[in-house]
């Protein structure tokens, strides 16, 4: 979610709530005479508000599961999640009166810190990366479909190379025969050699690149190197094949975009692997903490 001026209301409301919480804390701590703060009226107030917020934040995943439910717009939920998440920081600190406590309290405190930190990191990434992806990945597709699209790109490339060979056969020219992974020219070497080189480069570099997700070691992974490879191929093969090479180059370009998209998508969503599980763990612990605290208070 992009944080822009439409968030101003939420930002102001959050700032006011933090100010209010701070005033309550300062007042309460000036009246507080000893010991743990969590069990005082103010400590309970902060603790209850914090627990309510944690429950609310965890409900976001439920909201996403049922997008058609009429319980507020998704955007509103996201904004509330983002800004009220920041409010959780002072509430937890004030509830604990800047101490760690022990056992569950300590673990819950560090979980809260990790969840909030990962959330802030995620918000920052989501603020920057989607725009960057739009700029740098023109052939962006649905992330979950990348493997499928990549397979189709490979199929298209195979068809293009196959087309070149069948076109030659149509003209009565057996260019080469396959021998293992390489190809040997059987026609006039002067005519067939460039095609054999094309075939070898395709089998040895282009096809593995299109087949494997990422393939960081392949020269085609870098755009500059890829240009060099295709420039050399163009010099080898007759001008009639140049259009096919253009198509192959475009397919490689599209594959590079998919790789780039994969990379950016992982950066954009990896934090969720920390944020979401820790949020559930935090919810479980704070509920236990609340029950135990109320029992023994």
């Amino acid at each position: 979610m992009r944080i822009d001026k439409t968030h101003r209301g939420w930002a102001i409301a959050t700032a006011l709530l933090i100010l209010l919480a701070t005033l309550i804390y300062v007042f309460a701590i000036s009246r507080h005479v000893s010991g743990a703060f969590g069990g005082t009226w103010a400590g309970l107030l902060f603790g209850t508000a914090g627990l309510a917020l944690i429950i609310f934040h965890n409900l976001l995943s439920l909201r996403k599961k049922f997008p058609t439910w009429r319980i507020g717009r998704s955007q509103t939920w996201m904004r509330a999640h983002l800004w009220l998440g920041i409010l959780l920081i002072p509430l937890v600190l004030y509830h604990a009166s800047f101490t760690l406590g022990g056992g569950i309290s300590k673990v819950a405190f560090w979980l809260t810190a990790a969840v909030i930190f990962s959330g802030i990191l995620g918000a920052a990434l989501q603020h920057v990366l989607p725009r960057l992806m739009t700029q740098r990945v023109p052939f962006e597709t649905i992330y979950d479909q990348i493997d499928r699209v990549q397979a189709q790109l490979l199929k298209e490339a195979d068809e293009l190379i196959g087309g070149v060979e069948s076109e030659a056969a149509k003209n009565g020219l057996l260019l080469f025969k396959n021998e293992g992974s390489g190809a040997t020219a059987v026609a006039d070497p002067e005519v067939a050699a460039p095609f054999a080189e094309l075939r070898n480069i395709y089998q040895g570099r282009i096809r593995p690149f299109l087949q494997k997700r990422g393939d960081y070691g392949n020269p085609l992974y870098q755009r500059r190197n890829a240009k060099g490879v295709f420039f050399r191929l163009r010099k080898l093969v007759p001008a009639e094949v140049h259009e096919v090479l253009d198509d192959l180059e475009n397919i490689c370009e599209e594959k590079r975009d998919l790789d780039r998209q994969s990379r950016m998508h992982r950066a954009l969503h990896a934090w969720l692997l920390v944020h979401v599980p820790l949020s559930y763990a935090l919810l479980a612990l704070v509920v236990i903490h609340a029950v135990i605290a109320l029992r023994y208070m």
Binding site: S34, G35, A36, G102, T141, G162, V244, L272, A281
Partner: protein
């Protein structure tokens, strides 16, 4: 040549329209971790609880003194408050639970309210000593000022100066002592000596070590009820006798006893009687007129032993009352006629505990030289001067919480007691070892 076509129709076939029904690896991972992590964490804590280890659920470590009952929550967390059963769910800490093991005399009979034990003594906090209560517990009443006490809201800046240093308070002691003279090289029993503070002032803990200027014949016992952290009162036999001998006649090496005038008179009479019995020729000797004794009679005729004893003892007493004793003590001659000519020595009134409502222990301060705190001692010439250090001296170290490096604790508990331990009663415990220990 076959060319690549990017028609909308072809692009449309690229995607699986039901892709959202299939779970990606990332989504599966997220679900697995989201379920397993909370389960593992909760299981971890519950397993600890199952093993009887409740430390995972406590808000903080137990204090040192209660750590041994740390696994028996029910020792303090009871189901009843003042005999009334709580809801089964609640397990509140009650005063009754504390008083089963502890005695806690009230503070003052007229105190505004009696706080619950746990409102001052906070368990499960970082504090290792439950006696270290927050000053706010005290200042919630004392900030406004209570009868006979000035308002106190903190230490040192918001604490009144120690009472002995306020206004025109004077040392009530009647034994004359000039500290300045005694801290310079002075004539000792065998030449010049330099007195140390510890020659006269020591706590009971250090009293057993030899005293440099004690009496050669008697050594007074240390009173059993002496506060261990305070200086013993200065004592003649222990501190003064070696220099300030109570000789009354050059013919006798023995000094008069440092006792009441009647006992001194008895000692003198006995000494002279024994002397004249042993030395009858003394009756023919003239009196030593060189002895300048106030109010002495210049009567040289000593015909009988009785006359000798009477005259000699009278002169000796005058020497003692009007010179030797008077050097240190205040002597009252006003009613001597009714007291058979004996004066009254005013009580010494040596103050042992200067801060009546506070406790002080010299032991933790042993690293300091005496004069670094008792600064005025070096220039004190009058007995009536109070040499207790000012609150500013304490504040040089005791200016903040002990948690801060370079500062000593400044909480009220450091010097004051809430419970009036003079009200202590015999206490009979009710718990068995198995009820507490595990």
């Amino acid at each position: 040549m076959v060319r690549r076509t990017r028609s909308a129709k072809r692009l449309g076939t690229r995607h699986d329209l039901n892709y959202f029904k299939h779970w990606t690896a990332a989504r599966k991972w997220r679900l697995a971790v989201s379920v397993s992590l909370p389960v593992v964490l909760v299981a971890w804590f519950l397993t600890g609880l199952g093993r009887g280890d409740s430390s995972g659920f406590t808000p903080g470590p137990m204090s040192h003194s209660h750590a041994f009952i740390g696994k028996k929550c029910e020792s303090c967390h009871a189901f009843k408050v003042e005999g009334i059963a709580l809801m089964k769910f609640r397990k509140k800490v009650t005063d009754e639970a504390c008083l089963e093991c502890h005695q806690a005399p009230a503070h003052k009979s007229n105190q505004a309210f009696t706080p619950g034990c746990s409102s001052c003594h906070s368990e499960h906090t970082a504090s290792q000593d439950l006696r270290h209560v927050a000053s706010g517990n005290c200042t919630q009443c004392h900030a406004a000022g209570v009868p006979h006490f000035q308002p106190v809201t903190g230490f040192p800046s918001k604490h009144p100066e120690f009472r002995p240093l306020q206004d025109s308070f004077r040392d009530p002691g009647t034994v004359a002592l000039n500290h300045t003279v005694h801290l310079k090289p002075i004539q000792g029993p065998a030449g010049m000596v330099q007195l140390e503070c510890a020659d006269c002032h020591r706590t009971p803990v250090d009293a057993s070590a030899g005293w440099r200027f004690a009496s050669a014949t008697t050594s007074p016992a240390v009173p059993k009820d002496s506060p261990s952290g305070l200086m013993l009162p200065v004592n003649y036999e222990r501190n003064c006798a070696a220099c300030h001998q109570l000789q009354f006649d050059s013919r006798f090496s023995a000094s008069a006893p440092h006792q009441e005038p009647a006992a001194v008179r008895k000692f003198i009479l006995t000494t002279y009687r024994e002397y004249i019995t042993a030395n009858p020729n003394e009756l023919r000797n003239k009196r030593n007129v060189l002895r300048l004794i106030p109010a002495a009679n210049a009567d040289p005729a000593l015909r009988t032993p009785e006359q000798f004893v009477a005259t000699q003892s009278r002169d000796a007493e005058q020497l003692l009352w009007r010179k030797t004793c008077k050097e240190c003590h205040q002597i009252d001659f006003s009613q001597s006629e009714q007291r058979q000519g004996l004066p009254r020595v005013l009580p010494a009134q040596i103050t042992t505990k200067w801060l009546a409502h506070a406790s002080f222990d010299h032991a933790p301060h042993a690293a300091l030289s005496c004069v670094s705190c008792h600064v005025k001692t070096q220039t004190s010439v009058e007995t009536s001067e109070v040499l207790v250090p000012s609150i500013k001296t304490c504040a040089a170290c005791h200016k903040d919480s002990v948690q801060l490096e370079g500062r000593a604790e400044n909480g009220c508990f450091e010097c004051h007691q809430y419970h009036d331990w003079s009200q202590r009663k015999p206490f009979v415990g009710k718990k068995s070892i198995s009820q507490l220990a595990r």
